[in-house]
Structure formats: C-alpha cells, structure tokens
Subunit: 198 residues, 6 copies
C-alpha cells in the first residue's frame, strides 16, 4: 500500500541477538531454526526475559508435546479458536499454519479462526472447542455438567484437563503477544496452504 507505514518491529520491546542469549535459550532457538528453516518470532520476542522464556516454553511443551487423547491437530484447533477470540495476530497465523500441517487440510485454519461452529470438523471436535471457549470467556461458569457432556462424547478427564489447560495457556500467550504487538513471520501465512502431493 502506498501509504502504509514502514514495516514494524517484531516486538515493542528490545529483541536480543542470538549471541547475547544464555546458552540454553540459544540452543533451543537454533534447534527450532534447524527444524523449521526460520526462527519463529515468538522465540526472539520472549527472550527479552530469559526466566519467563524458560517457563513459557516449558509450559508449552508440557501441554503440546505430551501424549494423550487429543490429536496434535485437535490441540492446534484449540489454540486457533482461543487465539481468534482474543484477536491475536501471532497465534492465529502461526498456529493456523501448524494446524493446516497437522490436519493436512489447507482450509481448516481459516474456518476455525473465523467461526469454528461452521468449520469442517466433527461434532465431537465442536464440543471440544465449545468447552475451550467457555474456559477462555466464562471460566467462572464451568460446572460438572460440562464434564459430563464431554465424557459422553468420549473425552477422558485427562483430555478435558488438556483442553482447559491449552486454552488457558494460550490465553496467556495471546495477551502477551497483543501487549507487545508481537509480529508474525511472513512465512506462516502461506505454510500448509498448498496440499502436499503423493
């Protein structure tokens, strides 16, 4: 756009250089870079505060990398729906890409972000997202009937904890990203949009 401003920084706060970072953080970032081909900005933006960085990613890994009843695509659906409700650029775009890849579906992330009720997902997945949204928007109203409803759909108590914790954790992430105007890497917009062949 001719009158658009200069490209803004990836965070309102100072972004440390890799060389300045503590070893464990630099090592983690380099591992991600090797795997993804680029460094997702969230790693650089949060590295401004090393102790919070470590806790944030420890929490993230405890929820997103653990085994359990929810598929990896389902966990990403929770992230995308929660982040859309919180209007978080970074998380909708970056986790939308991951959702497309995990679900091998180029359409699903836009659908879940815009209106998960109308997305091409199962009724069981919609119940999962309805609960995640209740955690995100009205957690004070959670009651035993919510557990019973999910239980009847086959979610275990541990699955339900996962749904709640993922929604709650990304609520934290959304607020931090909104707060510092964390900018998403351009790469994420396109990732997973062209279905893989073969």
């Amino acid at each position: 756009m001719s009158d658009s401003p200069a490209r803004p920084p990836i965070s309102r706060y100072p972004v440390p250089k890799l060389a300045e970072l503590p070893d464990d953080i630099r090592t983690r970032i380099q591992a991600v870079q090797e795997k993804s081909g680029f460094i997702p900005n969230v790693f650089l933006a949060l590295a401004h505060r090393p102790d919070e960085f470590r806790a944030f990613f420890a929490y993230h890994d405890a929820l997103m990398d653990k085994p359990g009843g929810l598929s990896q695509a389902e966990r990403e659906m929770i992230v995308v729906a929660t982040s859309a409700a919180n209007q978080c650029h970074y998380c909708v775009i970056a986790h939308g890409a991951i959702l497309r890849i995990r679900a091998r579906d180029p359409l699903i992330a836009d659908q879940v972000a815009i209106n998960w009720r109308k997305a091409d997902i199962s009724a069981r997945q919609k119940a999962m997202l309805a609960f995640a949204m209740k955690i995100s928007q009205h957690s004070q109203d959670i009651q035993e009937a919510d557990f019973q409803h999910l239980g009847e759909l086959g979610f275990s108590d541990d699955d339900i904890w996962d749904i709640a914790a993922i929604s709650a954790f990304f609520g934290l992430s959304n607020r931090m990203a909104n707060f510092m105007s964390m900018r998403c890497n351009d790469e994420f917009h396109l990732l997973g949009r062209v279905p893989r062949q073969g």
Copy 2:
C-alpha cells in the same frame, strides 16, 4: 481429517442450476465465471431467490464499483473487518482474497481479519475501520463528532457515506451467509497469497 464429516453443500437451501435461472441472472453469473475462472458460491446460493439476488448485487455494485475517495483496497478492508466481527466464513475468505489482490499485499487480509488495529495499514485507514466497526456494532452511538474526526483526516462526507454503507451492506451479507451456512469456494483461500512478480 479422518473423522471430519462429508463436505457440506454450499448452502442450506436449494441451489438452482444455471440452466434454470432467469436470463439476466445467468448472464451475470457467466460473466463472473469468465472473469474469475470459477463461479463464486454467493451467486449460486442467492440465486434461490431471483428478486433478492438482483437487489443484492445492484446494491453491491452501487457501493463497490462506483468511483470515489476510497480506494478499492480500502473498501475491501471495510468488508473484511466487518465480516470478521460478524464471524462470516464466506465474506472473510472471499473478500480477504480480493483485498490481497487489490492491495497487492499477501499479508493484509489475515491481519485485518484477526485484529485490524494491529494491521500494516495507515493511521487514516485505522480511523476508517474504527468508524466502520462503530456502524457495525454500535450505530446508535454515531454522532457529529465522528464525522468531524473523519473530516479532519481528509474523508469527505461522501467518503463517510461509503464507509457506512459498505459496512451496513456487508452486515446484511454476513447475516445471510451465516444463516444459510454459505460455503466459500476453496479457491479463495489461496488467491493473492503469492505476490505477483514483475
């Protein structure tokens, strides 16, 4: 997704065949098809009611194809921001594609849809969208001060009418698309995401 339902229809209501349609409507649809390479589903879904179809597209054209102070990209920004607030699959995805093309910017539609306040657009464009959102969400609060504020940013009274009317018209469009679960053509998800070269 292994447990996703069969692909749903493009509308909850019957979709007429081209051959069954009145001549003027079929002609219009064929012209769009020739230009775009496919028929956007909104044309087929609304053709269930020919009189409403004619009025809808006459209104659309009166707002979107007219000359005026707003660029075509700016009009699409209004459509995308309004449609995201109303959580309308069809309009966010289809007009997001048009916005990317009009603005020659592969990132802008996701940014405006998720949180227009953080998008890579000018302060003037953000004021335009703030007014469009006030029309969409709290039109009862519009007051003379809103006109003065936009006037100071260089918007003419006719530009302001355009902003309001585009937001109001797509509010109608969003409600109809949500109501009939209008499905977006797959093509729109990818259009305009790869910047043109040369």
Copy 3:
C-alpha cells in the same frame, strides 16, 4: 421544550428536491405520497444516492410485498423488534405505525418495541422474533437446531428465509438511518393508534 434545539433536518446529508430526481425515483415517491398522504422521509433521505435508493427499495419490496407464509403484520413485527434492538428512531416509529395498521391493534407496536417477549402475540410469533433477534445479534451462532425448532412450529424453510432476510435487511436500514440521523415524519407517531370503528 423551551431549551430544545431547533427542529433538526430529516437527514445529515443533502436532501434532493423532487424536481431534481430521476424520473423513476420521482414517480415512485409520488405514488407513495398519493397512497399515504405524505412522503415518508426515508424516500427523500435515500434519494441522495439514486443507485442505492433503487437497490434498497427493490430489496425492500422483494421481502415485504411478496406472498408467503408470514402475514404482513408478522413481517412488521420483525422490523420493529430488530429496529428497537438497533435503537433506530425512523424504523421503530414508522414501521410501528405500519404494524399497528396491519395488525389492527393500537398497542402492539409499543409492546414489541419495548420488549417483544412480553407482547400480546402468540408463542409462535415469539419464536419467530427470537430467531429474528438471533439473526440480528448473533448470526454466527445460527445452527440446524434453530431450523428444526421453527419447523416444528409450522414455519416452512421459505418462511425462515423470510424471517432472516427481513431482519438482515432492516439491520442495514437501521444502520443507515442511525448514521445519517434520519428523522421520522411526525405523522407516524400517531397513525394507527385509534382503533378503526365499524
């Protein structure tokens, strides 16, 4: 009131004179004037933009003058309830008058405008208005269960389209009237309030 301001204009925008208008628009306005005894201000205010005027009234007529399962009074109930939720002076007052006349009931318009849940209308009509309000306020939540519920009350799929489209169209109308501070003709306040005799 001694300290009330001078009577405001019927629109914040210029209002064209009849003689200046395109023939088709002038003819339509004169027909209304002949029938009603006065020109409802909406015709004059929207004539500022002839193309939008034509599309607006074509849409209006396609929804309000067509045959179908909803009575004319029921269509006006939808207009009044939607317009009250959007706090639109023009539409509540003018269509309130039409509702009183169509329903031959001098009390109904005030009741529907203030709180349709408590109005002297049937349970079926309340279900119709509940759906119209969902279209107006939360169209993203519309789901198949809404159709089933209305179907059980005897509404056909075409009736349901009518309810949705009337609510959506008057949502557009309300936003435009709020935006330009469209003023209602004084005559509407009193029309239909004294029951006809004989």
Copy 4:
C-alpha cells in the same frame, strides 16, 4: 390478531380488590383515580404487598414530587430512558405518557425511549441522560469527573443526586414490573399524543 392469546392479567400475582385494602392504600388509590380518571395498574399490582407499596410510593414521591433544579419533564426523561434500557413495558408506556404531558410534546417520549441520543432535547439534557444511563448500567465506574462534567453544565450537586436516585429507583421499579409481567393500562398508549389546543 386472530391467533393472539387472551388478554393477560395485570400482574402474575393476585391483585387485591379495593375494598380489601388497608385504608391508607385505598385512599391513595382513590385519589389517583379521581385525578387521572382511571387507576394505573401499578397501584393495584403492588398493593399485593402493602408494606412494600407504602415504601415504594413514599420513595417515588420523595424523588418525583419534590422541588429542585430538574423540571418535571426532565425527571420523566430519566424514567423513560432508564426504563427503555431495562425493557420495561409498564414504565416506558406509562411514564412516556406523563413525559408527553409534562413536556407538552407528543413526539418526545418515543424519541427518548428508542434512542435518547437522537431525541429533540438539549445537549444539557443529553448529558443528564448519559449520566442516568451510567448509573443504570455501570454505576461502578462513576467517578469525580462525572460530577465535574455535570457541574460545568449547571447541574448542582443536589440535581445530580436527583438524577442518580431517579435512575436507581426506576431500576428497582423496572425489575419488579418485568418480574411480575405488570401490564400497562391501555389508556397510557394514547395520552398526550394529540397536542392540546388553545
């Protein structure tokens, strides 16, 4: 309406007969009847609980019949705006009639009820109603700046108390009327709509 239900009672609770009432309450009601030509239903509906009746009308009179800086029409504006926000049939219709009479203006009550921001009232009266609505909807946000703003417009501290107390008292009245489905006398719909002559 052919399918409308039988006319509902004036309250969901038993309505005492005049002869059964304590003397002071019957006397008060007869005085109102003599003055108005009919008994407003609120007197009969609340007489179900004599002690609450006495406190209610003592409070009412302390606020509405006292001298002070607010005109009687202005007090009724507060009642109508508050009651419309609370969607109370009885209070909007009955006090709308009183507002029309007090203000000698057949249009004002509909305007204030639908959207007080657009009514034919002064800027000072709009500030008064904005404060009344803040009391009604967000009293927890009232702060010293609100008092300063009203003071600059010429409202005394005692006027401000009146605005707040009238809005708070009718918030109570609205809730009770909504709760018991208190029905408004038909007479109120028409009162004050035809300007007096001479």
Copy 5:
C-alpha cells in the same frame, strides 16, 4: 501504604450530625448504634435526604425483617451476590458480615461474593441466586419457566417475590452507594470471621 491518599469521607455528600436530624431518624440511628455498637455509615450517608432515608429503610425492613420462606441467611446471600455483581463496596462488605453472622459461617460471604456458583451452599440456594442474578442483570428475560423451575425446588410464589424484590431493592442501594462513594465502616471487614465458640 506510604503513597495511599488520606482516608476518604464516608460519602461524597454532606453527612449530617446526629443532633441536626429529625427525631424519628435520630431515634432509629441510635437504636442501631445501641444494638451494633457502632453506626453503620449507610444511616449517616442517606440521612442527607430525610424523606428518601425513611422510604429506603421502610422498604429495607419490609423485605429483610418480614417472616417468610427464605431464611435470614438466604436473604443476605441474595444481597451479597447482587451487590458483588454491581461492584458495591458498602453492600458487599457490610452485608457480607451480616451473612457470616446469620449463617454462622466465616467463609460463606467471600465465596458468595466472588463466585456464588462455587460457594458451599445447596443446589436450591444456587437456583435462588441464579434467579436473583437474572432479576439483577436481565429482568426483561424473566418468564414463566423461571417460576416453574423455582416452584419445583420448593419456593412458593411469595418466596419468589421476596427473591426478586430483595435483588431489585439492593440494586437500587448499590447504585446509590456507588454514586456517592459510600464508605463501609472498618468494623464490617472482620465481623463474623472468627466462629463463635460454645
């Protein structure tokens, strides 16, 4: 706190001295002082307007001191839940103390104020509070089904009136206390927190 402001007054409005008050009001206040050991500030703050004071406490007594199906602790639960929703310092703290005393439970007031759905109260009491909150927040939605639900739980029609009237009356009280920044006596914070022995 080293940087906290000086202790604010008990009301933004003038607080009369006991000697200046009408006899009936002074007598009432002295009776409360004798019973409680101190004068609750609400008596002094409202005495600025003697007629409103009399109506306010007459209403209060008619609701809170009458016999009926609701226990005194249950009435105070309604007060605390309503007042917490309205964010009223005075009423949450003072009536929280009374609730602790009436229920002989040092924990209950904090629980009800923060989230009554999670409080150590019976399911029947939660239904009572859900209805009180509907009165307070959405009285326009009250319908016959609400009465039936409470009836099935054993509440009589007169009990239901009590629930509604207590919630509505304290909604008035909350708005007045918020408006004048009525300050709660320090004593209330601690009252009833240490369970009585013996």
Copy 6:
C-alpha cells in the same frame, strides 16, 4: 448451614499424596509448608501434573519474586483485581491474604476485589490496575497510548511488562482454578485481617 452440602474436595481431579510426588516437587511444597504453617491447596492440586506444576511455579516465581519497580503489594493488587474479574475463589482469597500482609492493610484486599476504582490506593496504582484489566479483558485494544500514559505516571517499560505479564499469568491461573473447582484453604480468609502490633 443445615442444608449445605458436605465440604467439597480441594480439586475435582485426584490430589497426590506428598510421598508419591517427585522429589523436587515435594521439596518445594515442604518449604512452603514450613514457611506458611500449612500447604496452600494450589500446590497439591497442580501436582496432579508434575511438568505443568514445574512450569507454573517457575513462571510464578519469575514474575512475583523478581526485583523491579513494582512493590510486592502492587503485584498482589494486580493479582487480586484480575482474579476478581475472573471470579476465581482461590486466587482472590489466597492472594487477598498476601495483599493484606504485604500492604500491612487489613481492608485493602476486599476493596480491590470488589471495585478497585474505589479502593484506598493511589491514582498511580489505579492507572496500573486499569491497564492490568485492559490486558485481562480487552488485550486486543492495547495501543501505544497506553504505554505513554503509564510512562507519564513513572512506570518504566519493564514495569509495564510486569503489569501485563502478572495479569496474563493469573488469567491462566484463574481459568485453571475455576476449571477444577480448586478450593482455597480456610486459613487464607482470616490472614492479615488483624493489623500487627508493635
């Protein structure tokens, strides 16, 4: 209460015994027990998931135990205000106790929890809480003007990060506690309510 249910458990999920816990977690819990005289339930409830426990408390310590421009009492104010908005029993009661102790003020926690705008805190602290609430409720609206406003009141960019991160982290904590109906230890209700002497 005679009809209150049996005392509910401290979490809806299984609570591990100390002896079953990993050494690092048991050691941490025993250290808290030694210092406080009892084990706050949050440690036992979250120990159901050791990895999440470790990340949660690492995050907590990184925000609450670090040096910085915010006093410890101010950090607790943020926790209490955020947790009250999220209606979280555990966090309002437990951190209310810590706030009373840190601020050496027996009244402050109730005031901040009920309505921080009316609490006995400085204008600067109210601005801090207004920002924390914006993070908690509308983080999508955060803009540069918010930073400027806080900067003018003497908050550094690092202080502002602390405010945001504390509000965001306790938003996570509130959602988890609401979700599992985490019960607060009785001790917290009374802690810090009697000012220390000497």
